[in-house]
Symmetry: C2
Subunit: 204 residues, 2 copies
DNA sequence: CCTACCGATCGGTAGG
DNA sequence: CCTACCGATCGGTAGG
């Protein structure tokens, strides 16, 4: 265990503000959330927030850099187990969905709010932290049991991210609106299609 | 050709307002766009807008119901050609990407704005129009040459939508931030993985 | 950390 | 279709 420093009063207040802003912004969007709402929910006066953040934009920036789903996922990628490609991919899909699901729908709204209201201005920074990790995973994938088709590894990774992220997004947003036939065991089927798609076909 | 009625003055003004609002909202988001901005861009006074729409929300609703990507795509689905599953899927992917790409990045922003700022409130209505079309396509898919694996057709369709939509979204938003290895021929690879994933494996 | 305030801008309406 | 206005709310700051 890593020993945590006791947070100072200022650090605690800062966290309170971020928690409050996180809840409101992921629920209402950035422009629709006022500094007054954030202050009230944090149990502070409006002016006090400006002792911790110079502007509303800076509050949002701090949230993105500390809580964006892509950043939340980074530590998880290293700990996925699996002997074969099959096992590894299935474990990864379920671990990621589980992790993201714990914070539903806040994380997805944070992601989309950043894209819509800031035109993805923070994405290069966020993505920069992700890429090396993804390439590591691609490398690892090549060393597992199971013959992979001749598809560039980074593309394979991107397709994997797509498979499960799209599942997650549609499930969160359209779930109740979809007919049941589109939902039953969907994640398992998605993973199955993906695996079948990247592995060399065995002679039946 | 279907003969179009001459639009009345009121209809033309309405369209001018929607065009103006569409441009601003897809660029800035809903909350960040004011009725005054919309009026100015449309060459009208603020008050005049309220002769055509009862509220700001109604302006947005009209835009979603007439221009949401899912609704834009509907007419396209029926005209996809292809003798084999392989051909059909490839044609569909490229046709859809081409159609969506023509309106980039407005369409994607419209979609995401609706989700973030309205919590997908209009989605059931939009989706309702899509489902019968998708099921038609699923039916057609079964009749093409090429043996499909035993995966429920609606799931197969959802996975397809996911494949190309995720390609489209990541390309639009992360394109420049991605390393080249993640981008080269990505759509073709995605389609390849998908096709390999849904077709019964041939004995080599 | 709070109170009290600033100018600006918002969605919407009355009246013509 | 416009002018002129309403009350409400915004992000941010001065001063203590």
């Amino acid at each position: 265990m890593v020993k945590q420093k006791e947070p100072s009063k200022g650090e605690r207040t800062r966290k309170t503000i971020l928690d409050s802003a996180y809840g409101l912004i992921t629920e209402q969007g950035y422009a629709a959330t006022s500094m007054r709402q954030i202050a009230e929910k944090a149990g502070l006066s409006l002016g006090s927030i400006y002792n911790h953040f110079p502007s509303k934009q800076d509050v949002f920036k701090a949230i993105v850099l500390e809580r964006h789903p892509m950043i939340q996922i980074i530590p998880l990628l290293g700990s996925i187990q699996g002997r074969t490609v099959d096992e590894f991919v299935q474990n990864a899909a379920h671990a990621l969905i589980k992790q993201l699901g714990r914070h539903q729908p806040e994380l997805i709204n944070l992601m989309l709010t950043e894209i819509v209201e800031f035109k993805g201005a923070h994405m290069p920074l966020v993505f920069e932290k992700m890429v090396p990790r993804m390439l590591q995973v691609a490398e690892r994938l090549s060393q597992l049991d199971g013959e992979l088709r001749p598809i560039p590894r980074p593309i394979m990774l991107r397709a994997f991210a797509g498979t499960f992220l799209f599942y997650y997004v549609t499930e969160s947003l359209l779930g109740p609106a979809m007919p049941p036939e589109m939902r039953a065991n969907a994640l398992d089927h998605f993973v199955d299609i993906y695996l079948h798609g990247i592995l060399v076909k065995e002679t039946a």
